[in-house]
Amino acid sequence: MAARAIWKGVVHVGTLQVPVKLYTAVVDHSVRFRLLHKTDKQPVKQQLVSAENDETVEYAQVKKAFPIARGRLVMLEKEELEKLEPKDSRDIEITRFVNHGDIDHRWYERAYYLGPDGDQKAYFAAAAALARKKKEGVARWVMRDKSYVGALRAEQGYLMLITLRHADEIIAADALKPPGGRPLAQREIDMAHQLLQALHDRFDPEQYKDEYRERVMELIETKAAGRKPKVVKFRPKSKETDDVTDALAASLAGMKKRTARG
């Protein structure tokens, strides 16, 4: 079953061009709830009202304003805001190629597959070249009146475009001071290290399932059938010890026992 493309464009790699179609690569399986009025179980709706007199305001009457200081705003006309929008274009400009891993995953926002739009030869050659060079492209494009920066990557022989977050959205870890305290004892570090090694494995995403989603649907069915859902209280594990060293030692001892038992 082929998905519908959400957009079409042309990737420009230097002097070369690759016509592409864009497909979303992520799906959301979340259970959707609605907000309801408690007494009559009817959906709520949002209303805009004047903060001055609580009179309703139509959305069409609303103007936008930019806050410049406490209690001071600059009004912006619709036409003024429209003029700021980027110019429409079908071009996906690749401004540079960087090494794999140079763009930290924290920048990645949303992934799209690119599919060939006609010229399959150029499309697959571009994907193969990116993979061979172990590079990803920094892409800029305008889609539906918004400008985007993205990473052009090769995945399994195909091209992907991943939108990137903006520069000041990310708070760098080194902008913060880590929690301090007395230096950690080498023995504790060693034990923690051993524990992590014992728990080391390959990343296998297939192993993790959203079981909660199904349980929520079960809850809804139970309630829809007029039955009372079972309510389980949380009981914290009986804490063996609050002492980190003891906890580490006990963990490692338990680990060894398990291994010995085979």
Binding site: V13, Q42, P178
Partner: protein
């Protein structure tokens, strides 16, 4: 679980989740905070009377204006028919996973395909002592390891990677494998054999334009243009309106200046932030910002204003 219209507390700077990370028998009490600032500038809505506009909820049937405690969550089982579920019921489904991130597997950070990462949160020690926190951070960072688990936050289960950078633990939610489509799901054609000459042409272009990452490219030019326009109008004293203190919409949260970096620094037990907050920029929304977004964006607007 995303609500269609989320009544979110105005403070985006509040902790999203508090609970415990466990590895082996070691427990690390933590609180989760957002690790990124909301995008763009929150433009305010102004009504025809030049007064700020605020949102309120009303019942779609009887039009009654509703307070937060008169609103519940429901799932539509058939058109117009809803089953109400309470937060307590949702938490009782997985009481342990709602309070605990149990790390039973540690993997090499590089082993995780970057496509999986969804959203990052900083973890801040929440217990009496931070020793276990520092120990886990130290060992994971040195070994470039990430702990993997699933947990439940705000009525949704997440796969999560716990990792450490600069002595600070981070929780990064991951997409479940079935939330990432495969090329075959999209209907892309099979990968054909490519002619070496065609590939070479692209390799040459790639080599020609190979450079280092420049973060300036990640700046958002829309907000820069918006800020320029605003500055010009301010200079000319054009279209400036005043919103009296008591009329400012409720998501201003009493006018308290909230900066994510400051909140995090305080929670981590340090003094101030190491660096001053960067200049805010981003894409201003075309639509009226949602209440929660508007609230979170306040800090960026404030920074600019100061």
């Amino acid at each position: 679980m995303a609500e269609e219209d989320d009544i979110e507390q105005p403070a985006g700077m509040r902790s999203f989740w508090t609970g415990t990370i466990t590895f082996g028998l070691v427990t690390v009490p933590v609180a989760l905070y957002a690790a990124s600032r909301p995008r763009g500038v929150a433009l305010k809505m102004i009504g025809p009377d030049e007064a700020p506009v605020r949102r309120r909820y009303v019942c779609s049937k009887d039009g009654k204006v509703l307070d937060a405690d008169e609103i519940v969550r429901g799932y539509e089982i058939e058109k117009g028919k809803f089953v109400v579920v309470s937060d307590d019921e949702l938490e009782a489904i997985e009481p342990r996973k709602s309070r605990e991130i149990d790390l039973r597997v540690f993997v090499d950070v590089d082993d995780i395909d970057p496509m999986y990462f969804e959203r990052a949160y900083f973890l801040v020690p929440a217990g009496g002592t931070n020793k276990a926190y520092r120990l886990l951070a130290e060992v994971m960072e040195k070994g470039k390891q990430a702990g993997i688990a699933t947990f439940v936050m705000r009525a949704k289960e997440y796969m999560v990677a716990i990792l450490a950078e600069n002595g600070i633990l981070r929780a990064e939610t991951l997409r479940f494998a079935d939330e990432l489509r495969k090329p075959s799901d999209v209907g892309l054609p099979d990968v054909p054999k490519t002619a070496a000459a065609d590939v070479k042409k692209f390799e040459n272009q790639i080599a020609k334009h190979a450079k280092k990452v420049n973060l300036r490219e990640f700046l958002d030019d829309y907000t820069e243009r918006l800020e320029k326009l605003v500055a010009a109008k301010e200079r000319k004293k054009e279209d400036i309106v005043r919103a009296p203190e008591e009329l400012r919409d409720e998501d201003e949260g009493g006018g308290e200046v909230v900066d994510l970096l400051a909140v995090l620094s305080r929670s981590l037990g340090g003094g101030g932030a190491r660096k001053p907050a960067k200049k805010a920029s981003g894409t201003a929304r075309k639509k009226a910002p949602a209440k929660r977004t508007a609230a979170k964006k306040k800090s960026s607007a404030k920074r600019r204003a100061s």
